[in-house]
Symmetry: C2
């Protein structure tokens, strides 16, 4: 009865430690920030048109807009905006993106039902716990069979979090999980297209849908993680961990704390982050000038570069999933930012020239990796010798956004172009205070943005892109 145990944990666990709440708060700040700047992207505009088409009763805010809609549709639009730049956080257990599904789900539902901040953050942390355990049971094989964990696992974490906010009892939570299982879909083949961002919005909406229907008496298989023909028998790879063991370790430690949330320093695929860290260190330590570089080799063990599908990217969205482009752009600019993924930046002759000196290769390894798990080898050959580095997951944590101050800076960098300086600071202040808020709707509604300002931000962005 593993489904029962999982549901019991999500429904009954009340002592959420302070470091878990703190991690959840930073995830909230990170997610809302990258979603706000994400609203300038064409995919977010289409999602907003869909929200407009549905025309639902206004219960939840579409961040960075003047639009309010149903909780489900708001979660859908915000999840898409949160994921489109691929600047949102990841989780090594999930092998995908936990917060761009969970935060939109709990924020939209929290706003609609006027939940207090601590309840919303607890729901997030419990949903995160579900994501980690289900994904570990699926193993790398789930990912290598073609699924995008962010959504295939995200539907469960969002259903659990939404169910927690709706105060479902254990039996009803089990129905919600069964219903979520019948919405577990999303293919890696859609990476590099708008549908990758769709996956995030879809998980958030599906989770709310499942929990809400269950709360009204909708029935589903109440033991979806147990027995013959369980969810795992259809979806898992060969290398998953036993779910029974994972469930016995719920909250020991909390996934939010260990292995923790991997926040993104750069708005590109996490699978090239280790490589960039290696490059950054080698360039700095050896004071290497760009002109000195003769060649760069980037080595990935099996599976750890599965999402880096563009060797020759044609636009910014593809550039985010290119090992060669990101390495070249970083070496040239010594930084990566939103401006690195404009059409003009992608087409720079200097970048193209440097990309021709970059080689990608397979590191022999008996293990295979998926999502954000793995390591990267960097070899940098210059006219004064070769420099090598293997970058492991753990070593690199310090180079990521980690301090509260760095989170605040990233948020303001993202939110200011959309909301303006003053409103961005106000939203940040409310988000930092989230654990003490009586009603999270004050935070959600603080992200409201006048239509003309949205239009201006988009126009400015388009002008830059086509410049």
């Amino acid at each position: 009865m593993l489904t029962q145990k999982l549901a019991e944990f999500v429904v009954q666990r009340n002592d959420v430690p302070v470091d878990v709440v703190h991690g959840a708060t930073n995830a909230l700040i990170d997610t809302v920030g990258v979603a706000l700047v994400g609203t300038r992207e064409p995919v977010a505009e289409i999602a907003w048109q869909w929200v407009e088409e549905v025309g639902a009763r206004p219960k939840a805010t579409v961040w960075g807009s003047s639009v309010r809609t149903s909780a489900g549709e708001a979660a859908f639009a915000n999840g898409i905006a949160g994921h489109v730049l691929d600047w949102d956080d990841t989780s090594p257990s999930l092998r995908g993106h936990p917060s761009t599904t969970l935060i939109p789900a709990v924020m939209a539902l929290g706003e609609a039902i006027h939940a207090p901040g601590d309840a919303m953050l607890a729901a997030y942390a419990l949903g995160f716990e579900v994501a980690g355990k289900v994904a570990k049971a699926l193993g790398n094989g789930h990912y290598t069979r073609g699924w995008h964990n962010t959504v295939t696992v995200g539907v469960f974490s969002c259903a659990a979090a939404a169910g927690r906010l709706l105060k479902l009892d254990v039996s009803t939570m089990r129905q919600a999980l069964g219903l979520a299982a019948s919405q577990s879909a999303g293919l890696l083949r859609n990476f590099g297209t708008m549908t990758k961002a769709f996956h995030a919005g879809q998980a958030a909406r599906a989770g709310i849908h499942a929990a809400w229907l269950a709360s009204r008496g909708f029935t589903a298989d109440a033991a979806i993680f147990d027995g013959k023909n369980s969810f795992f028998s259809t979806y898992a790879g060969e290398d998953g961990e036993p779910f029974a063991e994972l469930v016995s370790k719920l909250g020991q430690p909390w996934e939010v704390v260990k292995p923790g949330i991997n926040f993104k320093k750069w708005p590109c695929c996490y699978q090239i982050h280790r490589g960039i860290i290696g490059l950054m260190d080698l360039l700095e330590e050896n004071k290497i000038a760009t002109g000195e570089i003769e060649s760069i080799a980037i080595g990935f063990p099996p599976g750890s570069d599965a999402a880096l599908i563009y060797d020759d990217p044609k636009n910014g969205l593809e550039g985010k999933f290119s090992a060669q482009y990101n390495a070249a752009a970083f070496v040239l600019d010594r930084k990566l930012g939103l401006e690195s993924y404009t059409q003009a930046a992608i087409e720079r002759p200097a970048v193209r020239s440097l990309m021709s000196k970059i080689r990608r290769y397979r590191v022999p390894d008996t293990k295979s990796y998926a999502g954000t798990v793995g390591y990267t080898d960097i070899e940098l050959v210059t006219n004064r010798g070769a420099f090598k580095r293997r970058v492991q997951q753990a070593e690199t944590r310090a180079a990521w956004v980690v301090t509260d101050e760095e989170h605040n800076e990233k948020f303001l960098e993202c939110a200011t172009p959309i909301l303006g300086h003053e409103q961005a600071r106000q939203v940040l202040k409310l988000a930092r205070r989230c654990p003490g808020l009586d009603d999270v709707s004050v935070l959600a509604q603080a992200t409201t943005c006048a239509p003309d300002r949205v239009a201006t931000a988009r126009t400015a962005d388009k002008a830059k892109t086509t410049a």
Copy 2:
């Protein structure tokens, strides 16, 4: 470029033969009928509450209600009502239910955009064609891996049909199919719960969602049925037919005509229909009285009884998926109808006594079957000898609802308790005339039912159920 060829067929094919239109019209009548009587079920009531919760702009009708909502939410609610009684049609190619996803999708979208009747029926037939070909490529192995084709394939057929109604071009249709692939989910494990009906509504809504987003420029993998890591590589079984061959045979013949639509005579799982036909014939031909029966044996080859998961059903919904219950109830009553699946009917001592004389066994066969494909062996032992019969798919067609007159009768049986005699006849008349309607919204809106009448029908039904 199989995705391209499939999209070309759906977008460009204009000469829909008259027998295809006729088959589609009967499917429309069958689906709306069983959905109307399905609205009395608790699952339909919860779906309506969800529609109410969303509170969308009224563009499409929830059949048998006074509610109008968005096209997507109407399709969701109507798909659920259409499938809950398991009285809706099936397709041997799909190995599932084609019309309870497609008809709600094209009716809701058709109503919202005021499509003409012939365009709506063509969209249905083209969507049906996609369902047949994709499902044959997935093979029985897809089903036996745990998926419910009605929704996992239904998302594609509904996206194709909705895209056709929205007049997508070929390139945009390909995006819609890629987006549909990332919504392909639904587990057999949820059979015997409300989530089986949810699957139908989910496919209808997802199809509209995918086509609508694509129409606004949303991008997805444009060749989802081609190459490495295609939809098939993640979802197909070992025994699928080559998709290239299937695509070369689109419309030759049309799936709607051959193998055709299997309409249901009885409101229970199609997998027991063959067995009941066998029993019916043996009982009639040999003039066997119920008291003469000593035992009944029902034999299924592998896979052909996968959905008959309840040997000892506890309620009507479970009874629909019980070989033993359906056989016993048919023998006793010499018919099966909605009244066969009330709580009182399920608990009858005479039924329980007869069930104890019914044995189910596995027929050795080197092939395995899925969905509605297969055959059933019936052996009836009486005090004056044993009688045997093997019932194949094809043989049994004549015993199903087939003539227009029988369709009309089934519709009126289903619709009259909900709409009353006069309105039911009016809806039937409009549905029969559907190929000539200038705007299908007149048909959809003719199904409107005052709230008090809905409440009365439900109360009457509950009283019967608990009697």
